[in-house]
Symmetry: C2
Subunit: 400 residues, 2 copies
């Protein structure tokens, strides 16, 4: 019986917010207590802009027992096994975004109104807890350290080295740089270098976006109509953007072993985005007046992308699957997005087969786990017994 090796490129874990207190450095526990009520309230206001309370309430009530796998080891193992996932990549922010690290150290990693020391404290608290979670099943979990990279590069590097020592396998960094230099700047070279040395994959995850553009109130104080639609239409662009900067900045030229991943921003954009960069890179009349801006790149931009990067394609669409060859089959990594309601869980087995049915076995294997194995340096042969026990069966993917 033939089964697939599956990596979920997009899973989330987070403590119930009040429990983060004990993972904070002592000097931040009092500020945490004081700020906690306000922070939870603020977070709920922010999420109400986006999210319908009823939908999320129903979602939680219907799935509450298994949703606690957001922080509970046993339930989480049950979820992994039930979904057929051999290895999961773990981002912060658990159940519908409420289980997020304190002090704005969650997926957004914004800079506005943030106190750097506090954001670092929140990130470290999450990273410490995540180490514990991952150590309970180190072969099944690749945890991503939260790194508020912008404030201080040396501090970021120290956390990368600590995280690797503790068994984490990658980093989540801000997708937007506020008033700091963007990621084509040499400022970040020592950080990329450290990520290469420690074999830590760099991640950008959907969420960050210029919300003030969408939500600046109307004259009467109301939220402008269309704000959420604009966010939903742009969110993917904002997390692919750092890769545009890194490619053109020559980051992958200088650090050929650096790996970077863009997660939950769909993948339909990849082909045309890569082509556009190559088109600009090609020497022709359209570019001539802007001078030589390409010769520092020995390869076409798309070559760096496909060599060094992956796409965490949670919420994969059948249309994207049909376009897989024009997008680049080798970069597409399936993900479940557990425990978020937009993901495949708790319908993962049927979602998976619906989306990939009829593809050649090799291509299903690449999307479900092979591509991630390459990016994350996982050896699938070490998972034979797990796959034999829980992996989805080839026969389920055969066109009927």
């Amino acid at each position: 019986m033939s089964r697939f090796f599956v990596v979920s490129s997009d899973c989330h874990a987070g403590l119930p917010p009040e429990q983060y207190g004990e993972y904070l450095d002592p000097e931040f526990r009092e500020p945490f207590k004081l700020a906690f009520a306000a922070e939870v309230a603020e977070r709920e206001t922010a999420s109400r802009l986006f999210m319908v309370d009823e939908f999320n309430k129903v979602w939680k009530e219907e799935n509450w027992d298994q949703l606690q796998g957001a922080w509970d080891h046993d339930r989480r193992m049950k979820m992994l096994d039930g979904d057929g996932i051999a290895v999961e990549i773990i981002f912060p922010d658990g159940v519908t975004e409420h289980n997020t690290p304190p002090f704005d150290a969650g997926l957004g990693l914004g800079t506005e109104g943030v106190i750097p020391e506090q954001q670092w404290a929140g990130a470290r608290a999450h990273n410490r807890w995540l180490v514990e979670l991952c150590q309970m099943a180190p072969e099944r979990r690749i945890g991503l350290a939260v790194i508020p990279l912008l404030w201080d590069i040396d501090e970021a590097i120290a956390e990368v080295r600590w995280a690797r020592k503790k068994g984490l396998g990658g980093v989540l960094i801000p997708s937007m740089w506020g008033g700091f230099p963007a990621y084509h700047s040499k400022r970040y070279d020592p950080f990329w270098q450290a990520c290469v040395e420690e074999k830590m994959v760099v991640h950008f995850h959907a969420g960050p976006a210029p919300r003030q553009d969408y939500f600046m109130p109307e004259a009467d104080g109301s939220v402008p109509v269309g704000a959420v639609g604009i966010y939903a239409s742009e969110a993917g662009w904002w997390i692919a953007r750092p890769i545009t900067f890194m490619v053109w900045g020559g980051v992958f030229e200088r650090y050929p072993d650096l790996r970077a991943v863009v997660t939950e921003g769909a993948c339909m954009w990849v082909g045309e985005w890569a082509h556009l960069m190559d088109h600009r890179w090609g020497a022709h009349q359209v570019n001539a007046k802007m001078g030589d801006f390409t010769s520092h790149l020995k390869r076409a931009p798309s070559e760096y992308f496909y060599r060094n990067c992956g796409v965490g394609a949670s919420v994969l669409d059948r249309r994207e699957v049909d376009e897989r060859h024009s997008l680049g089959l080798d970069c597409i990594m399936w993900g479940s997005d557990y425990p978020h309601p937009e993901g495949s869980w708790p319908r993962t087995p049927s979602e998976m087969t619906d989306k990939l049915r009829g593809l050649p076995e090799k291509e299903i294997a690449a999307i479900l786990g092979g591509n991630a194995a390459r990016i994350y340096d996982i050896d699938p042969s070490e998972f034979t017994s797990v796959v034999d026990r829980i992996g989805p069966e080839l026969s389920d993917f055969v066109e009927r």
Copy 2:
């Protein structure tokens, strides 16, 4: 002999900068003189970031006589006739961006460091001169009034009405809104209403982009490597973005007769961008947690776009032509980009035939002029004698 009716959706005109002085309101002439030297110097520093001096020098030297059509009526008529263009849409900023209106009232229309009264004065000076240029051949020229929309909506509306009375046919407004509400806000409704009443087509033209992201100096003061490549790869996105906001904000729902055009941002993006908005608009699990953000739009986002908008596809690529049906044949409007070196001039006839050769006659006619005729409300039958004299011949487009 069958010839095509051609509209260039993208031409530029502008006075040599010092000559704008006499078109300024008197109180701005002294500040203009004082600021002139500094402004020209600043503009040249800014353009050096992008442009190779040698290339532009050679370009100007080789083409100087005809380039003066940027402001000279006779030379401009010769260019139009030579290129086979019956009607041209005229944006500001002439020869390689140096013939731009004073006080930052050119294509960029930025807000940072700008004094609103001065920018308005610069815009009015350009608009006054443009009226004169257009009146010399009113049937061949559709001039676009520069409108620094963000500062004061009533002032913008007054200029729209003035410009229509003087025979201009559209407006160029900022593509970026600085700290002001974005274009989904109801703040701009009276302006859209005025544009509908006066039949003024709203335009966004390539150029504006968050340059500080690209050019923030490295620690040693140098320009970061890759900055220009990033700009070139993003520039199109930044001018399509206002349309995303307008579509989701319901602007085209409330103003079904409003017309808007995105110019010189290529057109390869159109199909997938429209599809992504429709995908977000569709009700499904992926969107559910964000609530109902679609029911204010009676139609799919793409329907508004294709009904109300056009794409000024100067620097048209053969690959885009091959994809014309998936992009939307009816929105693609050919443009020459005279007198910019990235455009088709002075090789327009061969460029035109190279890019469109082998297409069905009806499709060539749509791209060269039919689509623009619909957007700009032009009656091609009024141009029979001009077309008979200068229009490109069908036989040149036949596959050999």
